[in-house]
Amino acid sequence: MLALQILIDGFAISALYALGATGFTLIFGVSGVLNLSHGAIMVAAAVAAWAAASVFQLDSYSGALVGVAIAALLSLLTYFTVVQPIQRSNKIPNEEKEIFVLTATLLWGIMIQEAIAYFFTNNAKTVLPIIEGVVRIAGIRTPANTLFTAAVCCLVIALLWVLVNRTRTGKVVLAASMNPRGVTILGFELTNVYIVVWIIYGVLAGIAGVLLGMFLGVSSYSVGPLTASAFSIVVLGGLGSVSGSLIAAFVVGYLETFTAYMISPAYRSIPALLLLVIVMYIRPQGLLGRR
């Protein structure tokens, strides 16, 4: 019984983590940017979906769409106002750009977080589920929306795979992650590639945020933990490796769910953090990372 419960809950949360982390690792793989405003963008998407449904009286589908659109917009804004100026700056030495991007996106995330807190208060918000009702799986009562969440996550990740591996745009993106200079020589504008990647990232983060808002609820306090969990999953899996992130997301998701059910919800995040430290020590490049 309990095992099945852990299996179902763990799957949903892992799938959500996977979705959130995939976008994060994609950005890193293609443009070498670790976006520490990730959590803020996810929360912004969820809050936008919540506001669209409860303040502007939209139905839950349109609300979710509004949330995803806001995340995509914010993601583009992040690229143009924060990341691009640093990458193009000639005052910052190249070897320090990474650190500046980290600090700047961190500050940007705090700004988004504070703006959300100012306009929508710090209270936790739960986005209305798209599918109501409860399903019984082998005697376990499961909200239908949990299954929906897991299904959407898997579908979106599959779509992303098709997009990256089977379409022309995707192949350019893939090429840019391997050799940016080569892509420019072939006549592709690198900025356009980055714009595409940031939009994909925004959509992924937005979907993950809205689903998280339905599944657990979010508040502006979730920004830090969300960024930290995406960051740790991505590093655990190996920076820039999408399949590594997927594996890591499931490892972390199940480890957390298992701890929460078997030991205590208070210890939820500790084993995952310890695992991360151990992996850092033994295999600094992560599970499937390249150095």
């Binding site: 670790l34 924060v82 100026p85 640093i86 700056s89 005052k91 910052i92 070897e95 990474e98 650190i99 500046f100 980290l102 600090t103 700047a104 961190l106 500050l107 940007w108 705090i110 700004m111 504070e114 703006a115 807190a117 100012y118 830090g224 930290a228 960051f231 740790s232 590093v235 920076l239 208070a266 210890y267 995040s269 500790i270 953090l273 310890l274 991360l276 430290v277 850092m280 020590y281 600094p284 490049q285």
Partner: protein
């Protein structure tokens, strides 16, 4: 080093310190209290800058070192009734040990991986404080029976004196040959290693010095506050503030970090009437400085001096 004593920077710092030292005679206790906290933050930011600006390691977990020092001192004082000064000393020792433990695995990795390891260290420390609430006071915080002083002026002078001494040591270290080796190994570890310098040893030393001052400052801060809580010495938000202060003041300047910290704390207080927007405005200002003046407050001044 000797040229520093003749440089305008030294004169300006001296005048500023003298002015700061006379403040208790003519400003209110409220402002003194604010600046006292700002000075301890200044030490946090300076020790962070030693690691980042010179060793080139971005430490996302300054509060791991600060919190270890603060909580060790607080727990020893609260549960074991040790007198205050041994507590502070042991807090600094604990922070050094913590720094050593953190540095050993962390220095094997570089860049973002290093940042993550230090970030995780903070999260683990925070979880342990919450879980072992009997010992640490958990989320409510730990009450500390002893205080440094009940007089605002004395507290202020202790903080100022501590910051000035730390600044002198950290700045001296950063200008010394050791500081130059650190800077070299931060910018190009391979070449610095090829020149025969032991990079790991230098970085470890930087880590330990940084940990020592962070822990000492953290321990003093809890004895000033009379409490130790996650929100004041461990939370990631506190670490972010330290980082922002150092970058704002100008990385690789040490002294700028202290200026940045004082600016942040004072600006936060001035913006208090704007309520929840205060943090937003401070972050926005910091972001603008990072984007358009990456050298920070002191960066451009110092680089001009170095050229002359």
């Amino acid at each position: 080093m000797t040229s520093f004593f003749k440089s305008p920077l030294f004169g300006i710092s001296l005048i500023l310190v003298i002015i700061a030292a006379t403040l208790p005679w003519y400003v209110s206790g409220y402002i003194l209290g604010l600046l006292t906290v700002a000075y301890y933050f200044g030490v946090f930011a300076m020790s962070w800058d030693l690691l980042f600006g010179f060793a080139g390691e971005v430490n996302f977990g300054p509060t791991f070192l600060i919190g270890t020092g603060a909580y060790t001192a607080g727990i020893l004082n609260n549960h074991y009734g040790l007198p205050m000064y041994p507590c502070i000393a042991l807090g600094a020792v604990a922070a050094v040990i913590a720094g050593f433990v953190l540095a050993l695995p962390a220095l094997r990795v570089r860049g973002p991986y290093f940042g993550l390891t230090t970030l995780v260290a903070v999260l683990i420390l925070q979880s342990f404080i919450v879980v072992f609430a009997d010992l640490t006071g958990g989320e409510i915080g730990l009450t500390i029976p002893d205080v440094l002083s009940i007089d605002a002026g004395v507290n202020y002078w202790i903080a100022l004196g501590f910051m000035v001494i730390s600044a002198a040591i950290l700045f001296g270290l950063s200008q010394s040959p050791v500081g130059l080796v650190l800077q070299a190994s931060g910018q190009d570890p391979v070449q610095a290693g090829a020149l025969g310098f032991n990079i790991v040893k230098h970085k470890l030393a930087a880590f330990i010095v940084s940990a020592f001052f962070s822990g000492l400052s953290g321990a003093l801060l809890v004895f000033y506050f009379g409490t130790a809580s996650v929100g004041t010495v461990v939370d990631i938000a506190v670490g972010v503030q330290v980082i922002v202060a150092a970058v704002l003041g100008g990385r690789r300047t040490v002294l700028g970090a202290a200026l940045g910290a004082i600016f942040l704390i004072v600006a936060g207080e001035f913006l208090r009437p704007t309520g929840e927007l205060a943090t937003f405005i401070v972050s926005a200002v910091a972001l603008v400085v990072i984007l358009f003046f990456p050298g920070g407050f002191l960066g451009s001044v110092l680089s001009r001096e170095a050229r002359s």
